[in-house]
Structures are given as structure tokens and as C-alpha cells.
Symmetry: D2
Subunit: 345 residues, 4 copies
Amino acid sequence: MINVAIVGGSGYAGAELARILSLHPEVNLVTMTSRARKGRPVADLFPHLTDLVSLVFEDVDPVGIAAGADFVFTAVPHATAMAVIPELLANGCRVVDLSADFRIHSRAIYEQWYVPHTAPELLAEAVYGLPELHRDRIISARLVANPGCYPTSIILAMAPLLAAGVIDPATVIADSKSGTSGAGRGAGSATQFCEVTDGFRAYKVGDHRHTPEIEQELSLVAGVEMIINFTPHLVPMSRGILSTVYASLVRGCSTVEIAAIYGERYGNEAFVRLCGGDALPATQYVRGSNFCDIGFRVDPRTGRIIVVAAIDNLVKGAAGQAVQNMNLMAGFGEDTGLLTRPLFP
Amino acid sequence: MINVAIVGGSGYAGAELARILSLHPEVNLVTMTSRARKGRPVADLFPHLTDLVSLVFEDVDPVGIAAGADFVFTAVPHATAMAVIPELLANGCRVVDLSADFRIHSRAIYEQWYVPHTAPELLAEAVYGLPELHRDRIISARLVANPGCYPTSIILAMAPLLAAGVIDPATVIADSKSGTSGAGRGAGSATQFCEVTDGFRAYKVGDHRHTPEIEQELSLVAGVEMIINFTPHLVPMSRGILSTVYASLVRGCSTVEIAAIYGERYGNEAFVRLCGGDALPATQYVRGSNFCDIGFRVDPRTGRIIVVAAIDNLVKGAAGQAVQNMNLMAGFGEDTGLLTRPLFP
Amino acid sequence: MINVAIVGGSGYAGAELARILSLHPEVNLVTMTSRARKGRPVADLFPHLTDLVSLVFEDVDPVGIAAGADFVFTAVPHATAMAVIPELLANGCRVVDLSADFRIHSRAIYEQWYVPHTAPELLAEAVYGLPELHRDRIISARLVANPGCYPTSIILAMAPLLAAGVIDPATVIADSKSGTSGAGRGAGSATQFCEVTDGFRAYKVGDHRHTPEIEQELSLVAGVEMIINFTPHLVPMSRGILSTVYASLVRGCSTVEIAAIYGERYGNEAFVRLCGGDALPATQYVRGSNFCDIGFRVDPRTGRIIVVAAIDNLVKGAAGQAVQNMNLMAGFGEDTGLLTRPLFP
Amino acid sequence: MINVAIVGGSGYAGAELARILSLHPEVNLVTMTSRARKGRPVADLFPHLTDLVSLVFEDVDPVGIAAGADFVFTAVPHATAMAVIPELLANGCRVVDLSADFRIHSRAIYEQWYVPHTAPELLAEAVYGLPELHRDRIISARLVANPGCYPTSIILAMAPLLAAGVIDPATVIADSKSGTSGAGRGAGSATQFCEVTDGFRAYKVGDHRHTPEIEQELSLVAGVEMIINFTPHLVPMSRGILSTVYASLVRGCSTVEIAAIYGERYGNEAFVRLCGGDALPATQYVRGSNFCDIGFRVDPRTGRIIVVAAIDNLVKGAAGQAVQNMNLMAGFGEDTGLLTRPLFP
């Protein structure tokens, strides 16, 4: 049994952490912070947690948090995270950071896409928290950088093919579609119901900040520096990301061969499900769960492969994966508290 | 540990039962039947259950089912249920029936709203499975008639006020709104996405079959025969029922007094949450959970009270309540396997 | 051909006015104002109007507006409207006000539900702009108070029955459901997509500001002072209001008799459609149009009638009705520019 | 004034044709057919057309239709269309066919993707009805093959770049997303509301029948035979297609240069709107209108261009474009009856 705190509990990722942790058999959720909401009961902001989470939002006080908690999830925006994490670590906490602050190994690349880094001394230590790729290093990490939602779906889709050397790393195009919860609860007029429903749009075409994170991890797998196209889109639904990823095969590959590559890589993974037969992933089949569903088609006409991956952006793309990382770090079963079934319909 | 079968597993209620039971620590789900889908894996029809439910749909064979199962959930349409339940009981199963066949105590009233009853000898034995009203009788029942979705929300909203005698039984008007999953998976062109989305409508105004069931239970509580208005509406969402129920107060009642009536009745109920302060229920706060959230307003201008109740129609309105009944019948903790938190957003 | 200005053009009602007026054969749309957006092209804020409305938002300057426009639509919040309208009238404009400022004839009642009135001298002159009830007075009015969206649906539903004396005025309960555009574009976190979709809720139960407006108009028709229950709800869709209104019949009435009452009243109305046979209104069948669809059921079991009315809240509930009023005031055909067909699906 | 018939009026495209034609100042809509619905009023099936379309569905009788109509829209499935069109032509009608039967010039390719062709003698005569590409031939055509919805968006997005020779024809990848109305009204369980809402999925990856039609038209523009990747997806909304199309630039091109290419090509087109500045298309801004909105980004990192195009699949992707074709054929103004503004929100 460990004591856990959530720094930045008033957003969707924070609430989702609370939802999951409130049922985790090895966790005692002791603190949730929110500068803007301090003093208000969590259930006031999130009525679905009425009778389930009885905490009151507290101000952010790293020393006080560290006094009561063994593990801390930081679910605050980038820049805010790196301002508070050093003190949490210094006071003995282990941290899973849901922001982007420690995902990029290169300070220069981080600063090119984000802001000046205020805790660069921690970059070398931080582990990129995708268990399917970096499980061993996560187990012993003090600071885990929880992956972005889009990158989780794209990296899991592409890593086996790049590792197997069957696709040309220069040809990867990731066309991703996300539900609106990815924009956060504090979002403004662009995510008003009337602006989003009945519509579909691309946004940040060519310059979304998840690009360098995807390129970093795929490059590590491929063994060459990769540059990709990544285009995010906004879907009129709350939860879910579906990424359709294109790449040119370096040689003729059969469906059976590709299926074997995925099976070998993910056959023992608790949270990756491979679509068999004619099936393809759909976000409604993973909603509320920590699963990443993956399917693919080989197109002999063009010599390309099309891989489709679906996750719940708030679970495998955020809070669920963060708990998966905590489970590894704390020595719990990797799926502890994460068995919730997808909610369909 | 008990062995459980689901008769009629290809609809939304059946799938929801499978979802809940797949995590129930005291249940072994051994059989799911579907005449139309026999021989097909359950996960083919319900991809969200991939890797979670490995059963293959079987044909309906009461004797065979009874040989392997202690408890049976019948999630088939009315008329079909009463055709199979007598044999299940005769072979030693205990049954929770999700159809309407055993909800109405009066054969005449059943036949007036439905069809000729083919197992009237069981009507006296069947217990109306609303635990908050009939817990004691459910515990020892052999056959429990799981309430309809609309009735669950309306009866829970009105029972305390009728029992306390503060409202006029002749003035009850229930205006209910339901997500589309209530219409079932096999539904036709009227529940196509394009027909439902961006729209809102009333249907079966004045002649919905849930009317006699609501009247039966409210009459029992009130001690007088009640006739009500019940108007169902279709909301462009999958899950959720919100009922807005109006009644005239027989005398001036304060908000505090009414809150006390509800608190006394439901204070110890695991699955009823009372809204405090200015809060009112909303379906998004109960989605995926077995909760019924209840709030109200006293309107001194008109002397009426407006009670609002929200449930997930597939959980507290169907599969969840059915498992709650099974838990009572089997001697498990009433909330065993039903702790899933509401999924929001 | 007349010159028209829209004061307060940055909200949904303002944009809808621009959409309709851009096709009106007798109107020259010369000015749209927005204090917050002045200097920005209208099409920047409303990309759907690209190439269709080439205006740039201007600051609010009543004298300048009056110099260029014969008619002005004020689509600003209450209190703001009454601050600008007197000067517009003084400078020779005729005004259709979409706010609530001039809907309530009684200053005392207005101030009880809203704020102190700053132009009470105009209350006696202002005409309540529901053409089906007040056409004659609208034609010659200088200032028309465009009805609220909910009131339009409820008053049109009830007026014929009250005028015919077949229902008891003390028993009217209006349960209304609205799409989210009614909350306006500037709305905050409560109308974020993730908060609204997949959910249904009641709000402002017992104290919504449209209540006195409905009571005023129904009382005028009934000839007695009426107090009603009015409960608004929020539907996960952009446009549309459906009101389900209950009342006790004072005597047994047949469906045919009630249909005749509606037919007599609305048979010649261009924008009221009566549902025949088994049909009932649905918001998706009026979306984008100026229609109000009305249907009903007589319930002999309870002696009540249930009337269902559907409108598009932004058209018949706001901008369309405002143009209908302008057409009457300007002597155009009442349906000029308003023939757009409902957009389904 | 011409007399017009719709063969196959019970689907969404047929209803949309009726909606548009009911307001067309030069058209007299005389007949709508539906084998399955003959004898039923059109407004029974499509309540939004109540009081607007008073026709009753008739059986399909080519000779009878030709006796009363100058122009016929065939909005029936492929195979059915080519069974009825020869007789309509032989009896003097001019035809706009909304099916795929006459879109593919090569009989062999048609038969490879569809079924054996039963009217191959008409393939050479039929004109592919994309006015922006084939206006001159449409004007004098007897038989126009109205383009598919996906192809309209993709061809309009790519044609200017291929004609200008700035992209490599071998690198085109079209990732398209469509609302559910594209699946038609008669669709089955896969398009039930509960299966579609809250979800997003790819379908027919690598083998959608619109592929050869896109390739045919792009090849004609490029002057080389092209093979592309085309991946359709299903969005939880009724109307709208957004296509995100990727291609490698053959040389460094500036945004200004690409904008000039589009401006030159589409500057005078009534129904193509080019997004300026930072804007990108979104389906909600074209809904209900005949517009195709196009925007793009040059990505210097990868040397690719990403073009985004949005249409309403039922208007520019079906009925609206069909009327645009009829206008050209009949010598009316190309935008006659097509000025309806996009409905937002």
C-alpha cells in the first residue's frame, strides 16, 4: 500500500487518475492539488466522483506533498511540471509526469518546440514511460515521463515494423484523429459543444508538439534519424484516438508475415490487442480501458502498409498508462487496478 | 463461486452483463446463448470484449444450461423469456429475468399491455427486483423480475415522497428521456445514426408499456391505486436516462424537510446518491455505473415538487441491477463486482 | 430594399441573422457590430460565412448605425439592449430586439426576474413579437420584442387550447429540452463539448427567466392569471427545442376536436405545421427552418393532454422569427427570405 | 422551367435532391419513385419535407417518367441505375446519374471493382460530372455521371497541383473521413446510433470502390497513370467529408506559390472557397451548402504538402453537385437554387 498524490487534479487527466486510483487495491490517494480550485471538494468539480473521492483540492506545496506521499502524478501543463518536480524528487517522491517536460531527451529539441527548460539536469535521468518499449528502465526509475496520447498510438503502431526493418523510415505518415477531451477541460471557445459537434477538422498541421516525441522514439527503434508527417484532427466525441499510419514496405510482405511480427512483439503484452481476421480497431471498443488495439492492411497495389491503432486518450494515452508505469515502479502487477473493461456502447 | 449463464447474449443488455460479470470475483460465466448467432465468438459481435470473454454463442437449451449453471440471466424479449424460464426453474436454476414477463403481478394487466401470458403460475412467486424496495424478498427469491429502465428511475424518485405522504398521488407526471441503447441493438431504421443524432423527440406518448409497471410499484408504496402520465423521449446519446417527475405537494414542504425524507430512505443505499446543495443529476455523471442520482426542487409558486433522477439505463436500468439482484440472491456483498466508477467525460 | 444593421453580431443569433439576411431579396445588410471583435472580418469569426458576408465588425455607435440603417436587430444580452435601443429609435430606426428587455410588459415583474429597467418608458410601446398572436400590432410597431426560444414553443403549443377553454390554466407544466446553441457562443466551461455530449440534464429548475414571459402571454390568451411549471433541459445537440407540455382537460375531448382547434388557429400560418395521423414533432425535422411543428395526444386514462412542439431555437426561436417580424413591419411578404427547408439529416 | 423526376427518392440523396429542387426557381419536381415505398407520401418518410413536397412515391416506370420529365436524377444503387437509364435516354430524357455506373470510363476497371456492366455502350458518352474539371462537356451531355462524395473532395484538392506538376504522382495518399449519411438510409446494424456515436474507425482500407474513380480523374489531369492510397473513415456526425491528402513536392515550393496555383484554378469557381491565412477547412463550415473548402500546408521538414478539403457529402458530394450539373445542362445559371448558406452551428 502506497500513498499517492495528484498535482494538478482539476483537469480531465487528473480526474481520470482519481477515478482509476480510487479503485486501485494498493493505493491510498491522499492529496489532489489545484491552485485555482483549492478549498473546493473534488466532487464539486467532478460530480461523477461523488461518494467515491472525498478529498478537497489543496494548494501546491511540494514539501507538504512529499511528506505524505510516496508517489506523485504531475498532471499540470508543461513548464509548470518542471517547476515543481525537482523539489518533489529532492524530497524523496517518485514521479510520473504526464506533461511533456521530460519526454524529449534533447534539451535543444525540447526548447525548439516548447520553452526554455528549467530543469535540464533531470533530462538524462527521466525514462520515457511507454512500458511496451522501456519496461526495464521504468521499473527502477525515479522520474518517468508519461508519453503523449498521439505518440502512444503511433509509436506502438510503428515500432514492430521499424524494428523488423520491413518499412522505409523515410516514408512514415501518421494521420491521427482525437476526441475532444485531449484539448483539456480549461479549453476555450474552440471546444465549445456547438463548435465541435457535427464537424471534423485538422489542426496544427505540420507543427504539433507531439512530433519530436514521436520522431525520437521511432528513431531509437529504427536506428536512424526519422522525420515524419503527423497530422492531428478533432473528432466530435469525448474520448479516443485513432491513428492511421502509412509507410512504404521495403519488400513484398504478406499479411501473415506482418501479423507474425506484431504477434511476436506484443503477444505477451497485457494492454495491446491485435485485431485478427478482417477486424480493424475502433475507438469505441477501447473506451474507458487501457487497451491499445492494432490492426493493419498490406496494400499490394501501392506497396504500402496501413496500420491502424486505437486507444482511449485519457487512459492508455494518459492516466491509465501513468498508473501502469506506477505499477511497474512500485513492484505491483502491471495491470493492477487497470482491468476496467471498455464501455460499449 | 457460482456458475452463471446469460440467455440472450447478443443484445446490449447481454453484452453489458458479460462486461460486468467478466470482472465479478464470485462468478464464473459459463454460457452465453443466441439463437441467431450460435457458433460465433462473443468477441466477434462485441469487439470491446476481445481477450475478456472467450465464449462462443450457443443455442438455447434450458436443460443443458441448467446442467452447467446455478444462476441464469434471461436477456431476451418479452414472450421469449416466459417460454424458457419455467424449464430453467424446474431444472434448479435461479433466474433474474430482464424482460417484462414477470414484472406485472396482475395477469390481466400484463395481457392488456403485452401478450397472453404463457406462465401465469409463476406470477405470484416472481419478485420485482428493485432492491431498494424489495430487498428482503429478493434474497430468497427463485425468480426475480428485473425492473424496466424507465421505471427504475421513476420509482426510486417518487417512492420516498409517496411513502411519506407529502405528494398527491393523482398528480404524478413523469417526463423521461433516454439514450438510444434502450431501443436495443437489433433496432431498425428509426435508430440509425442519422435519424437520431442532432434530434430529440417524444415517442409512444401515453401508451408506453412501462406505464403499468410504474403504476403498480408506486401504488404499492402509496397505498392507493395510482394512474400517472409517463412520456418517454429519445436523446442523441447511447446511455442514460433522466426522469423529471412532477407532483403536487399536499402541504407546504421545505427543501430541508424533503431532503430529510430522501436521506432517511436512501442514506444507507450503496447505489443511490442524493444531490446536495444546488446540484442536480445529469446522466453523464452516472454513465457506466450502477448509481441512481436523485435531486429535487420545491417550487413554492405552483406548490409542486420537481424530482430529477438519473441512471445508466444499461447498468442500474438493466445489467447492473440484475447483478445487484444476483448478489442478494447468492449471498454476496450487494455491491460485489459493481464498483466501477462512472466514466466521465 | 431596406438597409439593415445587426447590433451584437458575434454570437450565434447574430450569425444566424447574417446567414438569413445574406439571402433576403429585400435587405441590404450594411453593418454588424461587436465591441469585442471590432475591426475583424465577420468571416474570421464565422468561417461558414466566407464569401457570403464581407462586413467587418464595427464598434457600437447608435447614431452612426441609424444614419445608415432603416432597421436594426439588437442581438446583445439583456441590459445591453435597453442601453442602446432608445437612441436607435430616437434616430429613426425601427428595432427588433432579440433580448428580453422589452418582452415583459410589467416593469415590476421584469425587475424581479432580471435587473432594474433603464428604459421603462418604452415598455408600453414595445410589441411582443410572436406573429401568430400579435401580427396586427407588429405591422405598425416601432419596437418589437422578439420572443424567447422556449416561450415561442410553449406559447404556440398552448395558446389554441387556452383560447378554446378546453384546458385548466392552473395545470400547465412545460418540460422543455434545448440544444446547446441556446447557451450562446461566449458560454464557459459548462458548455464545453466534453461536458455536454453523452449527457442530459435539467437546469435552472423552477427559476428560469423565460417563466414570466410564458406566463404573461398565456395569461393574456386565457384571460386569467396563470402560473406554470417550466423546466428546461440541455440536449447534446446544437439546435432545436422540443417542449412537452401537460395540462388537464376540463372535459372529455376527442383527438378530432383538438385537431380542429389547432387547425382553425394555425391552418393559414406559413410557419406552423400540424402533425397528422400518428406523427409527432422532432427537432431534426425543423432544423435550419422557421417552422414550429406541433403534435399532441389526448390521454383518456388521466384526462390530460400532452402537446409536443418543436422549433429550431436559432431560427423560429430567434433570428428567423426576428426576420419574420421585420418582414411584417416593412411590408414584405411574411415568409420572404425564410423559405429555407429543414436540413435533414 | 423544366420538369424533373427523381428515380430512387427514398434515400438520403433523393431526399436532399427534393429539398434543393423544391426551392429551385426553374424546376418543377413532378415525380419521385421508390419501389419499396410506392403509394406513400414523400413527407411520410421525410417529415422535414411536410408541406414542402406533396408528391407520393411512384413505382419506377421509365416510359411514364420520360413522358412527364425532361430531366431525371437517378439516385438508386449501382447496377440498378444502368438497368433503367438506357430506357430513359431512349425516351428523350437527359440524365444525371448519382450512382457509380457511368463514372468509370473503362469497362474492365468498372467490372473489376463492381459488377458486370449491362450498358457498356453508354460508357463513352457519359461525362464525369465534376464541373470544375469538365464543365464544357457537361453542358452538352445527355448523360452525366455525378462523382462520388470522396472523389469530389480528393480530386478537387489534388487536380491543381498535378496540373501544375509540383507533386510526385506516385506519392499521393488520401486519408478521408466521412459522416454517416454516406452509408445511406437503408444501412444496417453497423450504422445504428449506438455503434457509431462516441467512436471513430477506418473501413474498407485498401479496397474502397471510390479508388478507381479517383485514380481515373487524377491520372487524366497528371497525364500519367496514377495509383493512390485511399483510406475512408467513419465520423460520428451525419454530414460532411474531410479529406487530408499527402503528396511529395517535386521541388521546394513556397506557400505563396501553391496559393497562386489554387487561386488561378479556382478563383472564378462559385463553389470552391480557398482558405486564407492560417485557416483550414472544417466540415461544419460547409454543412448544407454546395461549397468545397480547400486549405493546405507545405511541410519543409519532409518536403510534403498536406491538402485539406471539406464538403457536405450530400450536397457537393451528391445532390448539390447533381443540380449544378443539371443547371449547366439546362442552360441555367450554374448556382441557381444552390445558394443556401452553410448551416452553422
